[in-house]
């Protein structure tokens, strides 16, 4: 038995795979005060379904993969410890300034167009707790000004007097020469030995990242320090509790890099946003099993619409300088774009486009008007209800009755009346606008990486995804949308496909060729030394998790750019080591090829030089894809799954139609439905629009196809 | 019905009944709204170095050069609040910066007040 857990903001999702391949899922409310409670409740449900008690289930469990929002929440709520930042004198305003763009980082594009509204968020470290140290190292690693130990001692004592209980040290160019940072730690440890103040983390930036960029590296180190206690304390106590209840396996944490590792092999920052990432990355197995090598995953929840892209064998869908919460960091993270388009997104009249939807959301409290909890603004859910796509008595399995009249009233007051149209027409337009906005987001996510949207399969997840899939797929000219099984527990289902992964990276400055002076790169030894060092670290890190060198697979990646360009292109290096000119040529050619493929050959200027900006080694323990168990057909015709009909209005037809409603649980292999039709599942509805059809396969995948171009 | 003044700047209001400018802080009647409000204030020629400290003697002192730049300060004669500042070369005409069309304002008074309430 393997259990995957994703702790989200509202729900804790659990997906368990039994030895015989049978999958069971459970959802419990997230218990923020102690996450393990919600987790164990979900486990209880699964155990009960398997005819076991919790201890019995855990006794048979070989792996638990755990994605948590602990870190994300702690960041957003500013619930972390008081930290101090020690940095190079003269640069103590670097973090508060945040590259000047910081006020916009992490905000939706709509909120970053107006300077009168520029406003930075609460900092993680107050300005008073940023201390300057007289020292300086240049970009080659040469010491320009020595570090004054006495000054370090003084600054540290000042900070401790201010109540600081953890230190972040980020000195300029420490990623090239870390000596001064190490010296700072030595002084801190001399002054405050571990026993005296208890756990007193001192995070050195070069140990967290070896990439250039003092602001991003400071934030990466800061977030690690900020979350240190949450991840190490709470997760180790969870692990202990699980052991106490009979679990003999490891607690594996899901990483936002698309991998996972034991607690000891996880840095706190890797756990942030790991849930959505695990869903995304894990989906690649699902996709591959269906023969797709290019997948875009869409997850529509109550507040946001997340888009992720996975392409087999490619690294373009990584973001190496992502934003976590409001902070630019330097860890390789899977790139997920999010826009404010969810079931709770509020619709309003807009002078230019008629109707705008989101990013403001009614959330779950008060929620959409139809929830009857005091919400007065019309939301996407209200529109869906009015159009007939939701059964008011069957929402969330009947646990949340919906009030259609409230939905109509909200839409009438805010949209229909001001625009002078009917409520139905207003609801139709709301849907059209939000579907197009989601489609545009997917479109941007794919094209900005240099791909063609038409080559992608769209996987639809989340409570809202399958309800809108035909709508946003049309905006992409995608002819097919797949609703996987367990789509409402997206992240948990994806986690099943994860592998143990470590990524090692370092900034370098290696000019591969310089046409001005007609020089070619010759420091092969320098290149190889870095790769070898990374490899040795991988062997050592995985040995600590019980794996031998032969179990490990690796790939070398290079961040490269043409002279003068800012951004780097990442390629998988065609060679592990550079020994000859042939190797050098192979690397340069691989860059040209990737560049041309991504931006078009037109955009490539071979005449200018190329350099390597960073070297990266990705090391993982490969595992077989999870077993897929084919379900036998039920033997019943599709009509047996039919529950009845409902009046629905569609965006493509004037008049309402009596629309067939089916029970998802009763759909079986080979069952085919022609739109318009609604398929109701426990926590989502699949809406098949007119002109589309849907078919269930033996693995629980429901594929919708556009039949014509209407 | 008591007259409701219309706020025109941070510190200036217009009383629509008497069509006069008033200080928003103390209510002091500054002058007719059809005229330049500055005429009803107290003015002061400020050496800019009193506000922006000079770092050293002489030119390019990090303070404005007082032979290039003065700060004209405008005070309310009632409460002394500083309603406006104007950075000018010495002796330059003072801007008539707000010339309200009083009739138009009165005609739209309730609409403007409604716009202000939002």
């Amino acid at each position: 038995m393997e259990i995957n857990v994703d702790i989200g903001g509202t729900f804790t999702d659990c997906l368990a795979t039994a030895e015989d391949g049978r999958i069971r899922t459970a959802k419990a409310l997230t218990t923020h005060h102690d996450l393990s409670i919600g987790f164990l409740r979900a486990v209880e449900d699964i155990a009960a379904d398997a005819g076991l008690d919790v201890d019995g289930l855990l006794g048979r469990t070989t792996a638990i993969r755990y994605a948590t929002t602990l870190g994300t929440n702690a960041l957003i709520e500013r619930a972390g410890p008081r930290l101090g930042l020690l940095t190079t004198r003269g640069h103590e305003d670097t973090v508060p300034i945040g590259r000047c763009r910081q006020w916009a980082d992490g905000l939706p594009a709509t909120a970053t167009r107006d300077l009168s509204r520029a406003r930075r968020p609460e900092p993680l470290i107050e300005r008073e707790q940023i201390a300057a140290l007289t020292e300086r190292v240049d970009s080659t690693g040469r010491v320009v000004m020595p570090l004054d130990r006495e000054e370090v001692r003084d600054r540290v004592m000042d900070l401790v007097d201010q109540g600081v209980r953890g230190f972040v040290v980020c000195l300029l160019n420490a990623h090239v020469n870390p000596e001064h940072e190490k010296l700072v730690r030595t002084v801190i440890e001399e002054e405050y030995p571990d026993i005296y103040l208890g756990r007193f983390p001192t995070i050195l930036s070069h140990e967290v990242s070896q990439r250039a960029g003092e602001y991003a590296r400071s934030m990466t180190a800061t977030i690690n320090a900020y979350l240190h206690r949450f991840t190490s304390d709470r997760l180790s106590s969870l692990r202990d509790e699980l052991r106490g209840r009979g679990y003999g396996g490891e607690l594996l944490l899901v990483h936002n890099s698309g991998g996972m590792g034991s607690l000891a092999a996880t840095t706190p920052i890797q756990t942030v946003h790991a849930g959505p990432v695990s869903g995304l990355y894990g989906s690649r197995h699902l996709a591959q099993s269906h023969g797709f090598d290019k997948v875009v995953t869409t997850d529509m929840g109550g507040t946001s619409f997340d888009v992720g892209i996975v392409v087999s064998g490619s690294v373009r869908f990584y973001e190496f300088n992502p934003v976590i919460d409001r902070w630019h960091v330097q860890i390789p993270m899977m790139d997920i774009a999010a826009i404010g388009a969810g079931g709770g997104s509020i619709a309003r009249v807009d002078p230019i486009i008629g109707i705008a939807v989101g990013p403001e959301s009614a959330g779950s409290n008060p929620g959409p008007a139809c929830y009857g909890q005091g919400g007065t603004e019309p939301t996407v859910t209200d529109a869906n209800l009015v159009l007939g796509y939701l059964d008011p008595d069957n929402y969330h399995g009947g646990k949340l009755p919906l009030d259609r009249r409230r939905a109509e009233r909200a839409i009438e007051r805010r949209i229909a009346k001001p625009l002078g149209v009917s409520v139905i027409e207003a609801a139709r337009r709301i849907r059209k606008v939000v579907d197009e906005a989601m489609g545009a987001e997917i479109f941007k996510g794919i094209t900005v990486k240099g791909y063609d949207p038409r080559e992608f399969a769209v996987f639809s997840f989340g409570g809202g995804g399958p309800m809108h899939a035909c709508g946003y797929a049309r905006a992409l000219d995608a002819s097919k949308v797949v609703v996987p099984p367990h789509s409402s527990v997206f992240s948990a289902s994806g986690a099943a496909g994860l592998e143990r992964l470590h990524i090692y990276e370092r900034s370098v400055w290696m000019v591969l060729f310089n046409p001005l002076v007609k020089q070619l790169f010759t420091d092969f030894d320098g290149f190889n030394a870095i790769v070898d060092e990374f490899h040795a670290r991988a062997v050592s890190d995985f040995a600590g998790q019980g794996y031998g060198a032969d179990d490990i697979e690796t790939v070398v990646e290079l961040d490269m750019r043409s002279t003068g360009q800012l951004y780097v292109i990442t390629i998988a290096s065609p060679v592990r080591r550079m020994e000859t000119q042939d190797d050098l040529a192979a690397v340069i050619k691989a860059y040209f090829e990737e560049y041309g493929d991504r931006f078009g050959d037109l955009a490539l200027t071979k005449e200018i030089g190329i350099s390597i900006d960073a070297i990266r080694l990705r090391a993982w323990i490969p595992r077989a894809a999870p077993q897929r168990v084919e379900r036998a057909a039920s033997g019943q015709p599709v009509s047996a799954a039919r529950k009845g009909t409902r009046t629905c209005w569609w965006t493509t037809t004037e008049q309402p139609r009596e629309t067939e409603v089916y029970d998802y649980a009763a759909l079986s292999t080979g069952h085919r439905l022609t739109g318009p039709a609604i398929v109701e599942a426990a926590d989502t509805n699949i809406v098949i629009e007119p002109g589309w059809s849907g078919e269930m396969d033996g693995y629980g995948f429901f594929t919708m196809r556009q039949e014509d171009n209407s | 019905m008591s007259s409701q003044r219309i706020r025109v700047t941070e510190y200036l209001e217009i009383d629509p009944e008497s069509t006069t400018w008033h200080c928003e802080r103390c209510g002091h009647a500054i002058g007719p709204a059809s005229e330049n409000y500055k005429r009803g204030l107290l003015l002061h020629d400020r050496d800019p170095r009193e506000i922006h400290p000079a770092r050293f003697e002489g030119e390019h002192s990090f303070a404005p050069d007082p032979s290039w730049c003065r700060i004209v300060e405008y005070y309310c004669p009632g409460c002394g609040v500083q309603l406006e500042t104007e950075y000018l070369p010495p002796g330059h005409p003072l801007a008539h910066d707000i010339q309200i069309d009083v009739d138009a304002l009165l005609a739209r008074a309730s609409e403007i007040r409604e716009g202000q309430a939002r």
């Binding site: 640069h91 305003d93 006020w103 594009a109 970053t112 009168s116 509204r117 300086r136 970009s139 000004m145 002078p351 230019i352 486009i353 008629g354 059209k432 489609g439 545009a440 479109f443 094209t447 310089n514 800012l566 951004y567 292109i569 078009g600 200027t605 005449e607 | 025109v8 700047t9 941070e10 510190y11 500055k38 005429r39 107290l42 003015l43 002061h44 020629d45 506000i51 922006h52 400290p53 770092r55 050293f56 404005p64 050069d65 290039w68 005070y75 609040v81 309603l83 500042t85 070369p89 010495p90 005409p93 003072l94 801007a95 008539h96 707000i98 138009a104 304002l105 609409e111 403007i112 716009g115």
Partner: protein, 708 residues
């Protein structure tokens, strides 16, 4: 008239009018800022839209396509400015009106370049040797034909669909190096005529069938010091434009060309209507402000930028009379740039919720006097017009805030944002033996103006591109021969007030690692502040350039730093006062051409802070105390300006004593303040002081002046 006479008349008409020697800038096209009337095709397209929600679909798609493209362009461009945000991608109607621009980037481009496709349509469409066909690639940089200044390059391709010309697609990037006679990097500080500003490319075709002619590019490259930059970025702009073309083709195939045409026209018209509607809510009247800039590139002179806004009903008329006349310096700005600055203010500070489009300026009226520094004619040098325009912004922002304060609607009354660009310019041979010449990104650290309800943001971006990235010091040092000694916020570098302006930084770079490298700087504010305050708040201070040339060169500096850098104060003025290392210390005008420097040279410059809002005596004492504790203000300013009284030991405000000190200061104001006439009698000068070299009006009889 007889047949013979009319054919003679025709003969002479042809002879004199129809065979121009040169196709110079078209004054009629350049003066256009209203939307062209709807074409028949546009009427047809709009009528074909049955569901208004489709227009929202159209706009959503167009914006996604453009944003995708600009991000790609940023990644593959070589221009330093492009990397950090000085670029844009957009679509124009077939008639040439700039319909939709990317959300990010330099928005004002959307108001200045409509004249370029219009010129092409008028002069080249039917010119047998040129023509407009699918696959054509057009290029331009000459600001006399449109655009802002010569370093900004426009690449345009016509968008066709099934043989019909539907629209134009344009990509604009600030490239930089332009081949000016004396000054590298694109800013021709020392040009006195347009002939000193490097290559000027009027709208021209540089390629067909999507292939750019190599001999044409070679011609361009041969005029400039950075041929690699030009080659790379012509390609990157074309690639970005083609990406837009491809996606719009897909869109038209999926939906219809009518939807695209209708979307563009609809966005223009509805934006214009909405801007008018919002302005109509303001009180009718006339609002005026002036700003004074203190340097004309090669000398220190004071020149005026004057703004008058007349609002009547839904019309807002913008006038600039009283502004300096044009001069033989590269500061002259064309009228379309002036209009674009107004558009920029509206787009980035008032109505950021509306699409970026030429509809903004179409909603306004402009009465700009000819012969002014803000209405340059085509003979004048203008590569640094942006400095004039930025100075204009200070006056503009004040006037607009006064006009809109009473009924701001969605906008927020605020003090002016710091508008200038005191950024390091550099060029030469780097430590990696690579040749480079460009500008750094210090300009992105401009301090934000204070708002009516809170302090301004520190170092939050330039006025012309809301989200701008300063980058990282380590990346700069890895690439360029620089050592960034410091970049920190010094005291008093912002406007004081009830709400203070956002502060900005002081940066210090040493030339380090190359003996063949130059530094330059083009900014204002050495003697006269660049921003004013609002409603009783103060403006920013002055920002002269400090240069240190150590007598012992870089080796002396190295030794001094290795020995602990005794006396290194990390602040310009104390360095100058204490001179901790032997050498030449110069503090002067922040305008220095990009000339070769000596390794070890240290340049220190402040970027300015935003203006303050409201009477400083109304600032919350706790807020002022926090400013003091954080070193944002000096004790001198805390006492003199805010009348703060505090406990030195505990560094805490004494609120009661502060209130008493403030009450006393208010009484002092009443005592020293003079009535208007009395004040004017003592203050008035009938002509400007000689030493200012003053340019602009100085007229006490002008109705815009308070009567003297």
């Amino acid at each position: 008239m007889s047949t013979a006479e009319s054919s003679t008349a025709q003969f002479f008409a042809d002879l004199l009018n129809n065979q121009p020697v040169m196709y110079g800038p078209d004054p009629e096209i350049n003066a256009e800022y209203r939307l062209r009337p709807r074409t028949e095709r546009e009427d047809e397209a709009l009528a074909a839209i049955t569901d208004p929600a489709d227009l929202s679909v159209g706009l959503s798609r167009v914006e996604a396509v453009l944003q995708s493209s600009i991000e790609m362009m940023q990644q593959i461009s070589a221009s330093a400015a492009a990397k950090w945000g000085d670029l844009i991608v957009g679509i124009y109607t077939k008639e040439g009106d700039f319909a939709v621009a990317t959300s990010s980037g330099v928005n004002m481009f959307s108001a200045t370049t409509s004249s370029v496709p219009k010129f092409i349509a008028r002069y080249w469409a039917d010119e047998p040797t040129v023509g407009i066909a699918e696959g054509d690639v057009f290029y331009h940089n000459d600001a006399n034909y449109g655009g802002t200044h010569n370093p900004d390059h426009t690449l345009l391709i016509p968008l066709f669909w099934k043989g019909e010309h539907i629209a134009w697609i344009g990509a604009i990037i600030h490239e930089g190096e332009n081949g000016a006679a004396i000054d590298p990097g694109g800013f021709s500080v020392r040009a006195t005529t347009k002939y000193g500003e490097g290559i000027r490319i009027p709208p021209m075709k540089i390629g067909e069938n999507y292939i750019v002619r190599r001999d044409v590019v070679n011609l361009f490259q041969n005029q400039v010091r950075d041929p690699m930059l030009w080659l790379t970025d012509i390609r990157s702009k074309l690639a970005a434009s083609r990406a837009v073309e491809r996606r719009l083709h897909d869109f038209m195939a999926e939906r219809s060309p009518e939807l695209l045409i209708a979307t563009m026209r609809s966005v223009l018209e509805t934006t214009e209507a909405e801007v008018r509607r919002r302005i109509a809510a303001w009180p009718d009247g006339i609002y005026r402000a002036s700003h004074f800039a203190d340097c004309t590139l090669m000398e220190e002179r004071l020149f005026k930028l004057s703004v008058e806004l007349e609002k009547r009903g839904d019309r807002l008329t913008v006038r600039t009379k009283g502004s300096s006349p044009s001069i033989d310096r590269a500061l002259n700005a064309q009228a379309h740039f002036t209009r674009a600055m107004v558009g920029n203010l509206f787009m980035n500070f008032l109505y950021g919720d509306l699409p970026r489009t030429a509809g903004f300026i179409a909603a306004l009226d402009f009465e700009l006097e000819p012969g002014s520094i803000v209405t340059a004619d085509s003979e004048q040098p203008s590569s640094l017009s942006l400095l004039t325009m930025f100075s204009l912004n200070s006056a503009l922002h004040q006037a607009v805030t006064k006009a809109m304060y009473a009924v701001p609607g969605v906008a927020k009354p605020m003090a002016p944002w710091y508008p200038q660009v005191p950024t390091l310019q550099y060029g030469g041979l780097t430590q990696h033996l690579q040749v480079t010449a460009n500008v750094s990104t210090e300009m992105n650290a401009a301090g934000g103006g204070a708002l009516h309800d809170r302090d301004g943001e520190h170092a939050a971006g330039p006025i012309f591109a809301p989200v701008s990235d300063w980058g990282e010091m380590e990346l700069r040092e890895a690439e360029l021969p620089l050592l960034g000694l410091w970049r920190r916020i010094p005291a008093d570098n912002h406007g004081f007030g009830k709400f203070r302006g956002g502060a900005s930084v002081e940066w210090a770079y040493m030339l380090y690692g190359s003996q063949m490298f130059g530094f330059g700087l083009t900014s204002m504010g050495g003697r006269f502040p660049v921003t004013g305050g609002m409603f009783g708040g103060y403006g920013g201070s002055c920002t002269p350039l400090t240069r240190i040339r150590p007598s012992g060169g870089v080796d002396a500096v190295r030794q001094w730093l290795l020995d602990g850098g005794k006396g290194l104060s990390f602040e310009a003025s104390t360095m100058v006062s204490s001179q901790p290392i032997a050498g030449e210390y110069l503090v002067g005008n922040p305008m220095q051409p990009a000339d070769p420097r000596v390794e070890g040279d240290i340049w220190i410059q402040r970027v300015g802070g935003g203006g303050g809002y409201g009477d400083p005596l109304e600032r919350d004492p706790e807020a002022a105390m926090l400013d003091l504790r954080r070193g944002l203000i000096s004790p001198e300013v805390a006492t003199q300006v805010y009348r703060l009284v505090w406990d030195e030991e505990r560094m805490e405000a004494d609120v009661e004593a502060t209130e008493a000190a403030r009450a006393e200061e208010r009484r002092a104001r009443l005592a020293r303040g003079r009535g208007y006439d009395e004040f004017v009698a003592a203050w008035r000068a009938d002509s400007p002081p000689e030493h200012l070299g003053y340019l602009g009006s100085w007229d006490w009889a002008d109705p815009g002046a308070g009567e003297g």
